[in-house]
Amino acid sequence: MATLARASGTLGISKGPATDPAAIAGGPDPAITVEGVCKTFRLPDHRRSTLKERAMHPFRRIPETEIVAARDLSFRIERGEFFGIVGRNGSGKSTLLKLLTGIYQPDAGRIRVVGRVSPLIELGVGFNHEMAARDNMLLSGALLGLTRSEALRRLDETLEFAGLESYRELQLKNYSSGMLTRLAFSIAIHVDADVLLLDEVLAVGDAGFQEKCYETFLSLKREGKTIVLVTHDMAAVRRFGDRALMLENGDILAIGDPNLVSERYRDTVGMEPGEETEHPAATNRFGDGAADIRDVWMEDDGGKRARTFKPGGQLRICAEISFTEPLQEPPLVFVVRSEDGRNVFSASTEPAFVEGLDFDAGDRILVRMRFENYLGVGSYDVTACVAHRDRPQWADARRDVSSFSIRGDGWSGAVVDLPHQFEIERMGSR
């Protein structure tokens, strides 16, 4: 018989510190303990959905399909850990998260979660679009376990974080999708939970929003919060994860160091385009093969190949390209992306390509693109592309094919350090 710590009462939003002495004492208890948890879904091949149908054919058996979503899972997540759960679609990772939140009950086994939980299965659940942001924030707060006064106290801070201070009384139906996402995320991280359970939240929103999410995760982590993230994004798991777990058909295939789990993920799943935001390049490659970007590297002012540079000066992105089909004036594109995946700088030969520079099959070229190095301290990836002039199609495109970093003192915290000068004039005095 299943025993679930959370279900000890009929009303179980989450276990508060008051009901768990260990949480107050800050004892050695892990934040989450999972012991022998099993969960199987039996889905009837078709649903008998009316009383009439049941009455007409009382003994008809409907064949069922059995799906094992969790097969005797046991693991612990320590306090303050950033824990990634990865696996391909249908591997059981979302079910596991729903078991952890208490939305699903295990068929067998025990789950114990210490501290207040903020589940974020989907952004903006429970939003009522007919109502103002303010009312929705109170409602969402209540869903996440806050009282009205606690939710009221958080209004300003939450709106400020989302950058929506002036839209407090606006009905949500007038919000853009980006605004909705920011509001929902902001609500979720402002409930002061000890444990955050997140499902693919980063799949939504633009790059700027994603970066804000990452920053928030880091600061929450610094505050000692436990964060569990279900994701496809191995890069995020490697960057933030203390540990990771990989599921496959409801089994734990690997658990531990994010890099090792990530390797395992790569071996098992292979990489699916668009799901992996890091190198290595092999599968981060698109195009019809009319061109072949054989190598991409970085050089300093003096033409010396390197991977680490000082701030300032000039840098060169170099590429060796061969052609397997004749191409006329193919646009060449280099993109420099920051570590978090934002495009910092993009350079294309279009429309300034040297006229008449056409290539035949078998031609090989060396491309050098020189630029002023205004990049701030940090790591960068280089994407190189060769396109067809006459149609929107890549001849070859290699995402994040090379990487380099800028190291030096005087970190400004900015992605670029543009040349600038101050002008200060006295306007007189009183």
């Binding site: 009303l11 508060g16 009950q105 606690e150």
Partner: protein
């Protein structure tokens, strides 16, 4: 900011219920100048129709003391019952996306509907007391019994609504069936006819229904002390045990259900 007080699960559930009910109530009448008018419109309109039908056309009303007051009281109480159970029925299926994505005690959903309907009932009762005043009905000590009757009505309707919500998950024709049952209950709950006009044999059947008991007794305590009380309407006062038993059974049943079965039912949504 970390000012979240340690709180029991029960307190959290209560907070959530209240917030859901207020939000829902606000939404219905949000920015609507006639908000209060609309809450009253339904019972008042029905009252008007029935009143005209039975006093002007059928000429029954004149023979019954305080007939309009009796109808409006019964209607408002019935309205609460039908709203709470009818909407309670859909509360699990209708909140599927919420249930699948936010962990919460599911009992909160029918409770919030019951509370929201109660806001409407409270507003309607203001109109009822206005009518009583208009009809020259005076407050008596017996009125003190009315809150108790209201309490029973609240608990019974909520439990029934919560129970029906479970039934509706596997049986999607339950809503059509319940609509018919509500119709039946409307005509058998002594709302538009005084209970004393019903032959005793039929009366005993009617008085098995807790809703009828509440309505008959409300008339007795609020409007006309000379009208039959619930137990007087029965051939044997001990029969009151049956409607009381039904109320208790529905409450216990709903509580057990939400403890054991409902969380799993929610997975089938």
């Amino acid at each position: 900011m970390n000012d979240v007080e340690p709180r029991t699960d029960f307190q959290r559930a209560v907070g959530l219920t209240v917030t859901l009910a207020i939000t829902d109530f606000k939404q219905r009448y949000y920015g609507n100048a006639f908000g209060y008018f609309w809450t009253l419109a339904k019972p008042l309109l029905l009252f008007g129709v029935l009143y005209v039908a039975f006093t002007v056309i059928l000429d029954i009303g004149d023979t019954v003391k305080d007939y309009p007051q009796m109808i409006i009281t019964g209607l408002v109480l019935y309205n609460y019952f039908s709203e709470t159970t009818g909407q309670g029925l859909g509360c699990l299926v209708g909140n599927e996306s919420l249930i699948r994505k936010v962990p919460m005690p599911l009992l909160v959903l029918p409770l919030a509907i019951a509370l929201r309907s109660f806001f409407t009932l409270a507003l309607n009762l203001i109109a009822v007391f206005f009518f009583l005043k208009l009809g020259g009905v005076h407050a008596t000590w017996a009125w003190l019994e009315f809150p108790l009757l209201l309490g029973v009505l609240l608990i019974y309707s909520t439990a029934l609504g919560a129970f029906l919500a479970n039934l509706y998950v596997p049986f999607r024709d339950a809503s059509a069936i319940w609509e018919i049952v509500l119709q039946l209950l409307f005509w058998t709950s002594a709302i538009i006819y005084p209970i004393e006009t019903v032959p005793q044999s039929l009366r005993d059947w009617i008085m098995l229904n807790p809703l009828a008991v509440i309505i008959v007794q409300s008339r007795h305590v609020l409007i006309d002390p000379n009208a039959l009380s619930a137990t007087e309407a029965m051939s044997d006062p001990a029969m009151i045990a049956v409607p009381i038993g039904i109320v208790i059974a529905s409450v216990v049943g709903a509580a057990l259900l939400y403890r054991r079965v409902t969380p799993r039912i929610a997975e089938q949504l």
